[in-house]
Structure formats: C-alpha cells, structure tokens
Symmetry: C2
Subunit: 322 residues, 2 copies
Amino acid sequence: MNAKAKANHCKIVDCTIRDGGLVNNWDFSVEFVQHLYNSLNEAGVDYMEIGYKNSPKLLKGAESAGPWRFLDDEFLRTVIPQKLNTKLSALVDIGRVDENDILPREESLLDLIRVACYIQDVDKALQLVSLFHERGYETTLNIMALSNVMEHQLLEAFELINESVVDVVYIVDSYGSLDPNDFSLLVDKFKKHLPNKRLGVHTHNNLQLAFANTLISAEKGVELLDASVYGMGRAAGNCHTELLVAHLKNTKYNVRPVLDMIDKYMIPLRQKEEWGYIMPYMITGMLDEHPRSAMALRNTADKDKSLEFYDKLTTPELLHGN
Amino acid sequence: MNAKAKANHCKIVDCTIRDGGLVNNWDFSVEFVQHLYNSLNEAGVDYMEIGYKNSPKLLKGAESAGPWRFLDDEFLRTVIPQKLNTKLSALVDIGRVDENDILPREESLLDLIRVACYIQDVDKALQLVSLFHERGYETTLNIMALSNVMEHQLLEAFELINESVVDVVYIVDSYGSLDPNDFSLLVDKFKKHLPNKRLGVHTHNNLQLAFANTLISAEKGVELLDASVYGMGRAAGNCHTELLVAHLKNTKYNVRPVLDMIDKYMIPLRQKEEWGYIMPYMITGMLDEHPRSAMALRNTADKDKSLEFYDKLTTPELLHGN
C-alpha cells in the first residue's frame, strides 16, 4: 500500500517567511529565520523564499513591516553569514520593485527571483524577468489568480512567455478555489503550450486541497512546489512543507528538522497569529474570490458568523446596498 | 474553471455523532443532535449516522458514555419524533453488538445498519449483515484498516462478500495514511472484484487528504461518502461535510444549513474538544499507524513535542525498552 509519489524531479520552495509574512506583517525575528534556514537545509528543502524584494518607496504603509518585506542585501548577509545547500529566493511584484535594488547575482545571496503578476501584466513581468536573468538569477513568472483568467488571455500570455528567457512558469491558485481536476487540466494546458518551460505550482488551502493539488501537479511533471511550514501563509495558508517532505519520501528529504521547527516556533506562533482552514476562508475559496473580505471579517466580533458572511457574498445587494 | 465533481450518484453519510462521539465520549445534548438532524435534512444530506448500536453489556467502561454510544430505539423516538428525508444509520462492531437489540426495521427509526470489522472477521461481520438484512435494513460492511491488509486476505474477503447479501462495501482508511492514488487503486480493485456491490469510503484527515481522497473515490463511482460536520471525528477527524456539500454543487445539496450548524455548535465545541490536523496525528498517518499513541500523547504535557514522538515511533527500542 501507500504508493507514495516518486517525485524525484521535484524541488520544494518554502514560502514560510514570504507568504507567512502576510499573516504577521513580516514580524519574524532573525533567530526565527536563521532556525528556519538551518531546518530547511537539513530537511533537504531546495529553496527558501526569505521575503519580498519590493521597494518601500513604492508601497504605502511600509514603515511598520518587518525587514523580510523589503529585503536588503547587506542585512541578509548578517542573517545568513554562511550559505548552505538551500538556495534563497525573493518575490517581487510588478510596479513595486525598483530594479536598481537588484544587485548582480554574484554580489547577492539570492539565487532565484520570482516575479508575480496578474495576467494583464505578463508583458511587464517578462521585462523584469529578462533584466533579472541578465543579472544572473534564476527566474520564475508567477501568474496569479489563474481561476479568474479567460482562455484567450492565457493563450496570449503563453505566446509572450515562449519568446522570453524565463526559466519556470507558475500556476498560482490565489483564491484556493481549485481542485485536483482543475490542477490536472491546467498542468496539461501549460505543458502543451509551454513545451520548453519548466513549471511550478503555488496552492492555497481554503478547501483543504493544497497538498492534494500539489501532489497531482508533481505527478504530472511540475518541478517547483511551493509550501510553507505548518502551512503558514495568507488566510487559509499554503500546502504544508512537512507534508511534502514526509510524503515525497523516496528522495533526499528528511522530515525531522521540519518537525523541530514546528515544535519550537510554529506551534507557539500559531497561538498568536491565525491562518489555516477557517470558515470564512473556506467560503471565499468555494466562491472563487480573493480572501480579503474574509480577512476583514476575522478582525471583527462577527468573525465566526460564517452563514451571515456567506449570505452577504452570495447576495451582492446586501454588500453594496443596491 | 472549477470543473466541479458532478457526482450526482453520490450519497453523503454524515458521521458527526458517531465518529465525533469518539472525541467527546458521545456527550452531545439532545438539542445538538436535533439541530444537526434538521440541518443535515435541509442541506440534502442523505444519511445521518446517529451513533453506535453496540451493547453496553459487551463493552467495558460504558457507563460514562453518552446515549449515542448505545442507541436505544425508544430514546431515539423522543429525539427524532418526526422522520424527515435524511435517513438514519447506526454502526455496530463485531463482538460488541447484541443481535437481540436490533428490532425489525419497521419498528425502528433506523434505515441503515453498518457493520465494522477488521479483515479477519469479515465472515462474522457478514453473518450479522445477513441478519440485519433479513430484518429489513439497508446494510454496509466497513472493512477497517485497509492500509494494513495483505492482498491474499483481501481476495479471500472478496469471495465471501460476493456470496453475501450486503448492499454496500466500504473502503475505510482508519489511519488516514492513504493518498488519492491509493484510493484510486483501491476503488479499481474493489470494482473489479465486487462487480455487483455498491461502494463507500470513510476517510481520515491525518495528511489533509480526506476531502481529496473522497473526491477521487466519488469520481470513480463510489456512492456512499462518509463525512462529518467541521470534520469532527477521532483524532485527525474525517472529510468535512461542508466541503462535500459545497463542492458537489450540481446536486441537491445546500451548504447554508451546514454553515449554520458550524457557527452555532461546532465552533464552540471545537474550543472545548480537540480534533483535526494536529502534528502527532499527522505523524501516525504518515507512519500508517493507529492514532492511539498520538491520542495518549495529546493528554500529556508533552503534547506538542512532535519530534520526540516521531523519534519514539521510528526507533521502537525507545518505546519498548529493549
């Protein structure tokens, strides 16, 4: 029994700091991040996304955020004085990154720069990708909110991507609304239209399908698998790193250091901060919507009134008064 | 997008009271059970498993348990004075049921009696099934711990089952250790060897795969899908009823009454009682073991020392001192 996925072609990209930072405004101590880096390295995890590399000049309300939101190369050297096997990654958003902040790779600790965008900005994203590629980085293009993209938009994007230098193209289930069949069809489509690109997936756990969606993608040949330790990520969170590390067990991965990280840091953190399968996030996932309305609800006294919340979202005149 | 499973052949069997009772020693109020019954009925859920129908005479330590552990037909009539569309089910265990307790169906509120057993007791279970069938009930045979069953045992069981009157045969992932590929292979095997039987699945959520495993089974033709509201069930719990009701959305199902039940009863209950994705349960699932060691751990001060727990389970001499 237990026909474990033999996905030796896969690489795990741990997003705990970057996507988890959306939960706690990137308020991770240096000690936390160092322990995570060492744990992931011992666990055999391939990449650690250590934050965003956007520019504070291009974002409002940035002053209060922790340093992982606007990674600084000098600061990063004090955090990770010795690079180990786990590579380092940073995410940038279209319109929020100052390209002058990105050093040539040989002067930076970063190995991979990932560019996130919505479908209408794929052209701009690919310009950035091209720049980072020239500066020596591995690159990915992460197309967000794929569940809300129309077919002709996607086909146009594929043409641009095929002409570009990008290494890896990501399927991102921003709203956590997709199931394994959806992922299976999307991976087939991306493989067909992007025969020379490698693929990645980034999942959310609104419907408790993040792990299953990642597994089916891995089986179909997707290489880069995003995950977070104990699932820490915006709203319902992500695929759990410990599940991937444990399940892809015919590989180099070792779950023990991830369990240690969970015991020492994630369980106490989860007492203070909230993410995971929580009813309003299940509802936005099921309705294929951004979780922002659910995140707002969770900050009110009505946070557990999920039926009322569902009725508001499914009866738009209740929301908009018309 | 969102190629929802069009599983109109499926029936949901809600196990909140029966499997959830393993969490709180069946300490559900009559009001709770009545609200659940009405909610499931409004939601279109097909069956509600309202408890066990074992005999207190045949079980030790039975005095403290709530009434849902030893269903009494007279008591049941006071709880459900008016049967609605949702049928009622009870589970019995080999060696723990007194067959004299089972009235003819026309004198009982119960519609379905399910017999749970391990593989070596399939013959005894089928004798009970035969008796309940004669008394007019729908019947299922639930073979537990399938992940630990050897092929020749299973093939022998299939022969007995094919000669029996049982209506539905269940694939039960008692340890929550199976993934969608495992379920896919098991369903294929059961379909091949039991061509004239209907099938059911009962999943556990140790690896966050209960919902995905249920979906793949439904797609492959499995009819009876076990679930619990908000996942309430032993240890890591079950597939969530609300997810099934919401996702199988091209059917008669309506998620609103289930959300209401969650808001009013399950969220407050979850503050007092524990079930779901909790690290020691993830570990027993990943190791394909019964969760009893993890349940014991959760009652100690070391409940969050998952690495230590993992090391004990994977280094047997640490457990047994030899």
